[in-house]
């Protein structure tokens, strides 16, 4: 497969996402496929940001685990990432400010220190001093050369991006781009080229944008939200485009208000949606049950991030399954669906609106940070402007001669034809107390056990009937595989690549992506899994929630679990390695590795304002009276190389047994 991966590293506020965007859009317009992942932190400025842009001639399903070109925007970034650049790759940085210690660089990697001052002389004369953030454009120019995508398309993208800022800004930026491009051309070898540019222009979209766009297509009229990473960009898109779409966008005072407003709008008869992250959803759960018992169509998007609690706000994780499944007390029908990728997020959203209306119930969409915030190029056909809109059984008119309208009529299907408030002669009350067909409370003086039994059964029948029209999951990859990987959400991209690579390497591997969680395709999944030879779940969490869920629904346990829960998303090679370990029957090793110990040292130094020091040597010691083997670390002064401190880290627990400054 023809592809290249660019990494851009810097601090928050360095404007690095804009640069990545220019690059990605250029490729997207050329007809290449792009998948980008931004590993950022939640503070506004300063925190480390690591943006990976993977470009391929064929579709790329995850950010991969390669690194061909590194753009380092500060010194720290060199130290963290230089060693990751593969042979044949290149490292690009501002040579005026940043140094690259050759010992950090692998063999066969070009080091391209851009002499920013020199190459921008002319531009400075013409436009005045260049802001630091603009220097990124120079680097992008260099990358455009190294990645073999040419100058033309990036220039056009810059032209569009800065159109509202006037010609001077456009010219300056294109000037910077060109300077970087020319410098690289003169001083470096291309890292990738020979692309076939199909020129099919593909939108470069995040999962959140896809959901918002789909909501518009599906006829959503009301979107309420309270800002929370990683769901906020739905709100931002909705707000930015509100006058175009006609969707009323309401930022509320809290998430309780958010969902209750959305339900109110749903009651009134508009298609309504709300969105939040795990913590905000925790505040919404009571209302989900209300929508259930009132049989109100409403969509709620829950975007998972690193938890528990405030947790790791800008990190991806898939650990909210139980929260969503367990949302609200009691039992009531609802659809829980977890889209697997960006195109699927579009389809799922459209379907969500239709099923919500058809079955008159809340739909909970589980997304995750990676899916919601990473952008990728998507075929434009994946975003049809015209979609099916099915509002279900609606009572448009009711005559008193038809008898009393019964909002919650006990029907075979479980669905009772719905009259939208405002319709004459169909008046009723939406009650969160349980009620009979006519919406008269059965909770108060009237409790009649058989009535309660029947309304409960009516509601639950919706789950049975809805399941019939949901597409059952299917195995992807070779039918006769030796290994079956099981996953959900954004992890499916990595799993797909891992499975394909494993198959290519001789271990036939297929995979199963679970999309519908409630109702669940128990029959089909049981059939698939009971035939699978080795079943391994792959999830970004500690407790393998989906594997547990599947066991609940099918009784079938996995043969092994691949988990990652350190804040970073899974990558194909990591999955392959873990799967191999499982196949070989190895116990998962939880010890602190040397690389990890080193990172822990860096963490300690950074959090104790000791950035003048750095780890230089790590040795492992088995018996030392600490109750566990340890990593003994020699730490030196960065500049002088003189001994700075020693640190002892527990190999099992990871605790800092001691940190001793040199005298």
């Amino acid at each position: 497969m023809h592809e290249v991966t660019i990494g851009i590293a810097g601090a928050a506020g360095d404007g690095l996402d804009k640069s990545g965007d220019t690059l990605a859009r250029s490729c997207g317009r050329l007809g290449l496929y792009v998948y980008a992942y931004n590993s950022y932190q939640s503070i506004i400025r300063g925190g480390h940001i690591w943006l990976k842009v993977r470009i391929g001639e064929e579709k790329v399903y995850c950010h991969g685990d390669q690194l061909n070109v590194l753009v380092a925007l500060n010194q720290d970034s060199i130290e963290r990432h230089a060693g990751e650049v593969h042979q044949g790759g290149a490292i690009v940085f501002n040579g005026d400010r940043i140094k690259c210690d050759p010992s950090l660089v692998r063999e066969g990697v070009q080091v391209l220190a851009l002499p920013i001052n020199d190459i921008t002389k002319d531009l400075k004369e013409k436009y005045g001093p260049i802001k630091p953030i603009m220097q990124n454009t120079i680097a992008i120019g260099a990358v455009a050369y190294l990645a073999g995508i040419g100058l033309e398309e990036p220039s056009k993208v810059l032209n569009d991006t800065f159109a509202h800022k006037g010609q001077e800004v456009i010219d300056l930026n294109i000037g910077l781009l060109t300077a970087g491009y020319e410098y690289a051309k003169a001083n470096a070898k291309v890292v990738a080229d020979g692309w076939t540019f199909s020129k099919k222009r593909r939108p470069f979209v995040t999962g959140n944008e896809a959901i918002a766009l789909a909501a518009y297509a599906a006829g959503c009229k009301f979107y309420s939200a309270y800002p929370m990473t990683p769901a906020s960009t739905i709100l931002h898109w909705m707000a930015a485009n509100q006058t175009k779409t006609g969707i009323l966008v309401k930022q509320c005072e809290d998430e309780l208000s958010v969902i209750n407003m959305a339900i109110g709008a749903g009651i009134a008869g508009v298609r309504s949606m709300c969105g939040t992250a795990g913590g905000g959803f925790a505040l919404m759960t009571e209302a989900v049950g209300m929508a259930g018992i009132m049989e109100v169509p409403v969509i709620c998007v829950e975007v998972q991030r690193g938890g528990p609690s405030t947790g790791l706000p800008t990190k991806t994780e898939q650990a909210d399954l139980w929260q969503v499944y367990g949302a609200s007390q009691g039992e009531f029908p609802r659809l829980i669906v977890a889209p697997r990728d960006i195109a699927d997020a579009y389809d799922s959203t459209v379907e969500a609106f239709n099923l919500a209306d058809k079955y008159q119930l809340p739909v909970l969409m589980i997304s995750d940070l990676l899916l919601s915030e990473h952008p990728e190029t998507v075929d434009p056909e994946a975003f049809p402007a015209e979609v099916k809109i099915d509002r279900g059984e609606i009572v448009e008119k009711w005559d008193e001669s038809q008898g009393k309208y019964k909002r919650f009529k006990f029907t075979e299907s479980g669905v009772s034809p719905r009259a939208i408030p405002g319709t004459p002669n169909t008046l009723y009350t939406h009650a969160s107390d349980d009620h009979d067909e006519e919406s008269i409370l059965i909770s108060d003086m009237f409790t009649a056990p058989p009535v309660r039994r029947k309304i409960m059964e009516k509601r639950q029948r919706k789950m049975v009937n809805m399941l019939k029209e949901l597409k059952a999951p299917v195995l992807e990859g070779p039918a006769d595989a030796d290994v079956t990987l099981v996953c959900w959400g954004s992890t499916s991209g990595v799993v797909k690549e891992a499975a394909e690579r494993m198959t290519a390497q001789g271990t036939k591997t297929n995979f199963l992506v679970i999309k519908y969680i409630a109702p669940f395709h128990t029959k089909e999944v049981t059939e698939i899994l009971s035939k699978a030879k080795k079943k391994i779940s792959v999830e970004v969490n500690f407790t393998s929630v989906m594997a547990r869920f599947i066991r609940m629904e099918t009784g079938i346990a996995m043969d092994g679990h691949v988990n990652r829960y350190d804040g970073e998303p899974l990558e194909p090679q990591g999955v392959i390695d873990s799967v191999k370990e499982i196949l070989e029957g190895k116990q998962k090793d939880l010890d602190v590795s040397e690389a990890e110990a080193k990172e822990m040292v860096y963490h300690y130094l950074r959090t104790h304002s000791l950035e003048k020091l750095r780890p230089v040597k790590l040795t492992q010691e088995a018996a030392n009276g600490k109750g566990e083997p340890t990593w003994n670390v020699e730490i030196a002064e960065r500049v002088t190389g003189k001994p700075g401190a020693t640190m002892v880290i527990g190999t099992k627990t990871g605790t800092t047994h001691s940190f001793t400054k040199a005298e």
Binding site: G28, A218, T243, E253, S257, G266, P421, D444
Partner: protein
């Protein structure tokens, strides 16, 4: 504006009879809401009556209208959503002091500063009725309740002062024992454009043995009879603190201000619920183009 065709109070007779304790103040409030709606000629199918949970919050089940009997404390956001989705209907929120000033006070405050065009009738019995008699945010200091057997040690909040300072544009008080005046007050609120908060003394005859009908009867008087000028912001705030031997009823404060609906761009072309579904092809294309 079309001439109003008044409707008789029976128009709003609910499917079931209220199950409140005999003598409960809420009966009077229910009837006043029905009369007020009739006076304004609001057809039942054009009326949303939204509540939370509590004895008082059972009201939507007892009135012929589109009722929403939602969650404890959440009447305001549910009503906001329903109202914004269908601004062609009149939205009246009805509920208790615990529901509105206790668990729900955050929503209330924010709705008031938005000057949302809804009417909120609070049946203030200074107690939690449905849960059998605990302290509420308006319970008098010292009052011995099930949850404060030694006497309540918290100062009650002043709903009227809160409403005025938060941005409500029609702030009034009624008393279930003064039904005619109450109808006027509620009808005034429903006719008002903007957020109307009407705090109604609605005695709980079962659990509040202090703030009873006679207790109020001895104290209340009507601002309207004293030619009160409800347009003065600061004087109204001051008036809202009158509490003791004399307690004012009526409209304390009233002003005209742009509503939330006035400012919301997507409400300028009529009710959302009547808008066509689905994307405009050109707009959609433009939106996708921005992503390329």
């Amino acid at each position: 504006m079309a001439t109003v065709i008044e409707l008789p109070v029976e128009t709003y007779k609910g499917a079931v009879d209220p199950d409140w304790c005999p003598g409960c103040g809420d009966f009077g409030v229910l009837r006043s809401v029905q009369e007020a709606a009739g006076r304004l000629g609001i057809k039942p199918e054009n009326l949303f009556v939204v509540s939370g949970i509590g004895c008082s919050s059972n009201l939507p089940g007892f009135i012929h209208a589109y009722g929403i009997h939602s969650l404890h404390g959440r009447a305001v956001p549910v009503a906001t959503g329903a109202h914004l989705a269908n601004t062609d209907m009149k939205t009246v929120i009805t509920g208790g002091d615990g529901d509105g000033y206790g668990i729900g006070v955050g929503h209330l405050l924010h709705a008031m500063r938005r000057n949302l065009d809804v009417t909120y009738v609070v049946m203030d019995n200074q107690i939690y009725g449905l849960t059998t008699g605990q302290t509420s945010p308006t319970t008098t200091k010292g009052h011995k309740t099930k949850s404060t057997p030694q006497g309540n040690i918290e100062s009650p909040l002043n709903p009227l002062a809160l409403a005025i300072t938060s941005g409500a544009t029609y702030v009034a008080r009624g008393f279930s024992g003064e039904p005619k005046h109450l109808v006027d007050t509620i009808a005034g609120g429903m006719a008002h454009k903007g957020f109307a908060l009407i705090d109604v003394f609605s005695p709980c005859v079962t659990y509040n043995k202090i703030n009873t009908y006679p207790w109020f009867k001895e104290r209340v008087y009507k601002l309207e009879e004293q030619n009160w000028d409800p347009s003065d912001f600061y004087k109204s705030i001051e008036k809202s603190y009158e509490w003791g031997d004399t307690i004012p009823l009526g409209v304390l404060y009233k002003t005209e201000m742009p509503t939330y609906e006035d400012g919301e761009p997507n409400l300028q072309k009529g009710a959302l619920v009547k808008a066509k579904l689905g994307a405009d092809k050109n707009v959609f294309k433009e939106l996708v183009e921005e992503m390329i």
